[in-house]
C-alpha cells in the first residue's frame, strides 16, 4: 500500500510537470501546422505538382492525427494529476493512438494506473515532439524547396524564352536581308528549339521543376546555336576561302592537340574534316548550291566543336 502511494504520488508529480511541456509543444505545433496548411493549400498550391500535393497532404494529416492523439490524452492526464484516478475507458480509447508503428497493443499492459498514466504522458510528449522536431521541419523544408525550385525555374524559363525570341527574330532578319539564301541548318535547329519549347510547356503544366530547368537550359543553348550557326553560315557565304582556311587550321591544331595528349582522334573529328572538304567542293563548284555548302559548313563546325569538347573531357 505504501509502495502504491509512493508510486501514485511520483506519477502525479511527473504528470503535473509533463503536462506543461505537452501543452506548450501542442500549442506551438498547432500554430505551425496552421501556417503550413495555409502555405500548402493557398500560397504554394499553384507551385505544387500532383505528387507533391499528395505527399504534403499525407504528412500534414499524419501530424494532425498525432496532435489529436496528444490532445485526447490531456483530460485523462489532467484528471490523474488532480485526483490520481485514470479512466479505464479513456485509456483504452487513447492507447491505440499512441502505439509505435511496430508495437503490439497486447504487449503494452500495465499493472497499476500510475504506470499507465505515466506511459500516456511519456507517449503524448514523444508524439508531440515528433511532430515538432520531425514532421513540421520536413513540411517546411519540402515547401521551401518547391518554392525555391519553382522560383529559379521561373527565371530560367524567362531567360530561355527571351533567348528563343531573340534567336527567332535574328533568323527572320537574316532571312529577310538575304532572301536568296536558306539557312537550313539554323532553321532545323529553330524547329528543334520549338519542339523543346513545347516540351517545356508540358513540363510547366506538370510542375516538374527538375525537368523544366533541364529543358529550359537546352532551349537556351539551342537558341544560341540557332543564332551562331546562321551568322557562321553567312560569314562562310561572304568569304568561303577565308572560312575554309580557318576551319582547316583549327582542325589541324586540334589534331596536334590530340597527338600531344596521346589520345586517339574521335570519329567526329574525321566527319568534321569530311564535311568541311565537301563544303569546299560545293562552294568551289561552277554553280554552287549555297544552301548545301552552308549546311555542310555548319555541320563541320558543329562536329569540330564536339571533337574539341571530347578533347577537353580527355577522350
Amino acid at each position: 500500500m505504501l509502495f502504491w502511494n509512493r508510486e501514485a504520488r511520483e506519477a502525479r508529480q511527473f504528470i503535473t510537470e509533463t503536462l506543461d511541456d505537452i501543452v506548450s509543444v501542442l500549442d506551438e505545433c498547432t500554430a505551425a501546422l496552421n501556417d503550413l496548411r495555409f502555405r500548402a493549400d493557398t500560397v504554394l498550391r499553384p507551385r505544387l505538382a500532383q505528387g507533391d500535393i499528395q505527399k504534403v497532404e499525407t504528412v500534414i494529416q499524419q501530424a494532425e492525427e498525432n496532435l489529436n492523439a496528444c490532445r485526447k490524452t490531456l483530460p485523462l492526464l489532467q484528471e490523474f494529476a488532480r485526483s490520481g484516478r485514470l479512466s479505464h475507458e479513456g485509456f483504452r480509447s487513447v492507447k491505440p493512438l499512441l502505439l509505435h508503428e511496430d508495437e503490439d497493443s497486447r504487449q503494452v499492459s500495465f499493472d497499476t494506473a500510475p504506470q499507465a498514466a505515466r506511459w500516456l504522458a511519456e507517449r503524448a510528449l514523444e508524439f508531440a515532439r515528433y511532430v515538432k522536431e520531425t514532421q513540421i521541419p520536413w513540411l517546411e523544408e519540402a515547401l521551401n524547396y518547391v518554392r525555391e525550385s519553382a522560383s529559379s525555374s521561373d527565371e530560367l524559363v524567362e531567360e530561355a524564352n527571351s533567348a528563343r525570341q531573340e534567336a527567332l527574330q535574328h533568323l527572320r532578319e537574316l532571312q529577310s536581308r538575304h532572301p536568296q539564301l536558306r539557312f537550313s541548318f539554323s532553321e532545323e535547329l529553330a524547329e528543334e528549339m520549338e519542339q523543346l519549347w513545347d516540351q517545356l510547356q508540358d513540363a510547366l503544366k506538370r510542375r516538374v521543376y527538375s525537368e523544366i530547368q533541364d529543358i529550359a537550359g537546352r532551349v537556351k543553348q539551342t537558341a544560341e546555336a540557332v543564332t551562331g550557326s546562321a551568322e557562321e553560315a553567312l560569314a562562310f557565304y561572304r568569304d568561303p576561302n577565308e572560312k575554309l582556311m580557318e576551319g582547316r587550321a583549327f582542325l589541324d591544331r586540334l589534331e596536334q592537340e590530340y597527338r600531344r595528349a596521346e589520345l586517339e582522334l574521335p570519329e567526329v573529328f574525321f566527319e568534321s574534316r569530311r564535311a568541311l572538304e565537301n563544303a569546299a567542293i560545293e562552294a568551289k563548284s561552277p554553280e554552287p548550291n549555297w544552301d548545301e555548302a552552308m549546311r555542310l559548313y555548319n555541320i563541320a563546325s558543329g562536329l569540330a566543336q564536339e571533337a574539341a569538347a571530347l578533347l577537353e573531357e580527355g577522350h
Binding site: 499553384p46 521551401n144 563541320a300 569540330a304
Partner: protein
C-alpha cells in the same frame, strides 16, 4: 503570538552579539543564494527569448519569400496575406528581442548584486572577526544590521531599485502575455496594414525592376574561326 511562543521567548536567553552576527551572515548568505539563482533564471530566460526571436525572424523570412513568389505569379491577395504574417512575425521577433534585452539586463544586474553581496559579506566577516577579538562588537553589530537592511529586499534595498524591479516585472509580464498570444497563432497579432501595404509595394517594385533588368542572353557565336583564337 501564542502563549507557548511567548513563554518560550521569555524563557529564552538573550542572544550574544556573536550569535546575532552569525544570524546576519546566514541571512546574507541566503540572499546570495537566492540572488544568484534568480540571475541564472534571468539568463536562461534571455536565452530562450533570443531563440524565440530567431525563430520569429526565420518565420518572417519564410513568409516574405512566399510573398515574393506570390507577387511573381500575380497572386496579390495571397502575397498580402503572407506579408501580414511576415509583419506579425517581425513584431513578435522585435518584442522577443526587447524582452531578451530586458532579461539580459536583469541577469547582469542580479549578477552585479550577487557580487556586491559577496563582497559585503566578506567585509562583514572580516570585520566581525576583527572586532570580536578587540571587543568592539557593538560597532560590528550596527554595520551588520545596516548590511542586512540593504540586502534583505529583493533589490539592493533602495526604493528606486525596488520600483525599477516592479516596473521591469510589469513590462516582462506584459510582453510575456503578448508573446503567449503570439504562439497561439499569428492571427492574434494585428499587423499594421500600412506597413504591409508599403512592403507589398516595395517587393512588387523590386520584382518588376528585376524583370526589366534581366540581361538578354548573349548568343555565343561558335564559329570555327573564333575557336582558332
Amino acid at each position: 503570538m501564542g502563549v507557548w511562543r511567548r513563554l518560550k521567548a521569555i524563557l529564552a536567553k538573550p542572544k550574544t552579539p556573536e550569535q546575532q552576527a552569525q544570524e546576519q551572515i546566514a541571512a546574507i548568505e541566503a540572499s546570495i543564494v537566492s540572488m544568484s539563482s534568480a540571475a541564472q533564471q534571468s539568463a536562461s530566460e534571455a536565452l530562450r527569448l533570443r531563440n524565440e526571436a530567431e525563430e520569429q525572424r526565420r518565420r518572417e523570412r519564410t513568409w516574405e519569400e512566399d510573398a515574393r513568389d506570390c507577387i511573381r505569379r500575380g497572386d496579390e491577395a495571397a502575397a498580402r496575406e503572407c506579408l501580414r504574417r511576415a509583419e506579425s512575425a517581425r513584431l513578435a521577433a522585435e518584442r522577443a528581442e526587447k524582452l531578451a534585452q530586458a532579461a539580459e539586463k536583469d541577469a547582469d544586474e542580479k549578477m552585479r548584486r550577487t557580487a556586491q553581496l559577496r563582497a559585503e559579506l566578506e567585509a562583514l566577516r572580516a570585520q566581525t572577526n576583527l572586532l570580536s577579538s578587540s571587543g568592539q562588537f557593538a560597532d560590528a553589530e550596527a554595520a551588520a544590521s545596516r548590511a542586512r537592511a540593504e540586502l534583505s529586499t529583493p533589490g539592493i534595498g533602495s526604493l528606486d531599485a525596488l520600483q525599477a524591479d516592479v516596473e521591469s516585472r510589469q513590462l516582462e509580464a506584459e510582453v510575456q502575455s503578448q508573446l503567449a498570444d503570439q504562439t497561439l497563432g499569428t492571427e492574434t497579432t494585428k499587423p499594421d496594414e500600412s506597413s504591409v501595404a508599403r512592403r507589398f509595394d516595395a517587393l512588387k517594385a523590386e520584382i518588376e525592376g528585376k524583370r526589366k533588368n534581366t540581361p538578354h542572353s548573349d548568343a555565343s557565336e561558335r564559329r570555327l574561326s573564333e575557336r582558332d583564337d
